[in-house]
């Protein structure tokens, strides 16, 4: 259980999650590119851009450490007014395109009739009250990405992304394509466009916040 967060004071912190780390390499390309390394380098390039926009940015890992899904979610859940973005690079898709996902469970939630104090959220369903906010953020971010990364979809998708499930804040996953490139620099070169898209989407999201749960 965790207390429901409120964005009453406005959104002011971005929890940026470079996926995987440590023994969990994530996707691997044929030429040896590894998702965990690339997303960390790209995340580090995004941080100063968001800070210039007035955001406090928290990375869920600073180096090649293995953090569990719940440990990463806990970073966001401890930050009032946080927005969570998990960064990934997939194995498939056209190079230089990006897809944004909000959480979609597969519909069957564990039955939990246990008495609960008002204002508390079950950890496994922490994202549930924030789904509308997350969908709105996903739509804004996907639109900005489609403008900057040709071939990216115009509209976001929803998927049962494990990392998003326990985040008690607006939360999206961004997956860049792909580790199948020959040279890591081709992906790292996209960092400025990604940072700009994220900054623009967050700026719009921040000035029109939805009702907090």
């Amino acid at each position: 259980m965790l207390p429901a967060q409120s964005a009453e004071g406005g959104y002011r912190t971005v929890v940026l999650d470079p996926g995987h780390g440590g023994a969990d390499s994530g996707a691997r390309g044929g030429t040896g590119l590894v998702e965990k390394d690339l997303v960390l380098r790209i995340a580090r390039n995004i941080v100063p851009v968001l800070e210039r926009e007035g955001w406090r940015v928290v990375l869920t890992r600073q180096g090649d450490e293995l953090r569990s899904f719940d440990e990463r979610a806990a970073v966001a859940n401890a930050e009032p007014g946080a927005v969570f973005l998990t960064l990934h690079i997939g194995s498939t898709g056209a190079l230089g395109t990006a897809r944004v996902y909000s959480f979609a469970g597969f519909g069957s939630e564990p039955k939990d009739d246990s008495p609960r104090a008002p204002g508390l959220l079950p950890w496994e369903r922490a994202q549930q009250p924030y789904l509308e906010s997350s969908r709105r953020l996903a739509a804004l971010l996907q639109r900005e990405l489609a403008r900057r990364l040709p071939g990216s979809p115009e509209t976001p998708a929803s998927a049962a992304v494990r990392q998003l499930r326990s985040v008690a804040a607006p939360a999206v996953a961004l997956e860049l394509a792909s580790v199948a490139v020959n040279d890591a620099r081709a992906l790292e070169a996209l960092a400025p466009a990604l940072a700009e898209a994220i900054a623009r989407a967050l700026a719009t999201f921040r000035v029109t916040p939805e009702q907090a749960p």
Binding site: F69, T92, F106, S108, A159, R165
Partner: protein, 198 residues
């Protein structure tokens, strides 16, 4: 040359010819033997193939969901005809095995060719459990998009061909997994039917 030496030489020649013939046959047999991994897959598939499925059984049209070959992240339904058995569990095995091995091209494939469906159970309330080999986690390309296509193709294929299945649980080597290959949540039940994600 003594008579004894002649006999020894003849025996040696005969032995050499026999060895050459045996060696050639052995090489041909080795060449016909599939590599160990392939042989293991064949053996696994043979073990889990639906009993009673005879090539003489009437062919039934089934709808299988594969990836759109243009790589837009969508699934496309394609119709194939299979000699389906009546039993829903065995029918599910047949349909899912076809989904794994019958993709018209590598671009259509959502599941690795090495994958084996180890078991499929269907309970009276419509809950189904599909237990796949470890290849689902280790060979499926890691990523949100590729993992979602894998799970969606299984779920929508079952939904299209087995109306008795109301919800699905995916196991890997008999165990519940937190994710498929690092991204997609496999801890819950997948409800069927459901509207496709955008």
């Amino acid at each position: 040359m003594s008579r004894t030496l002649k006999i020894v030489l003849v025996v040696l020649v005969v032995l050499l010819v026999a060895a050459a013939i045996s060696w050639r046959g052995l090489r041909q047999r080795v060449a016909r033997t599939p590599p160990p991994a392939q042989a293991e897959q064949q053996a696994q598939r043979a073990l889990v193939e639906a009993p009673g499925a005879s090539p003489a059984a009437p062919l039934v049209a089934v709808r299988l969901y594969w990836a759109a070959p243009e790589g837009n992240g969508r699934l496309v339904p394609m119709e194939v005809r299979l000699p389906l058995v009546e039993d829903p569990e065995q029918r599910a095995r047949q349909v899912l095995n076809a989904l794994i091995v019958d993709a018209p091209s590598p671009q259509h494939r959502t599941l690795p060719l090495e994958l084996t469906l180890l078991a499929f159970y269907l309970l009276p309330d419509g809950s189904a459990v599909a237990d796949f080999s470890h290849d689902l986690a280790t060979v499926t390309p890691s990523g949100i998009l590729s993992e979602q296509l894998a799970v969606e193709s299984i779920a929508r294929t079952l939904e299209a061909n087995l109306p008795a299945v109301r919800r699905l649980k995916i196991l890997i080597q008999g165990q519940e997994q937190e994710t498929l290959a690092g991204h997609l949540d496999l801890s819950g039940w997948i409800e069927l039917p459901r509207s496709p994600t955008p």
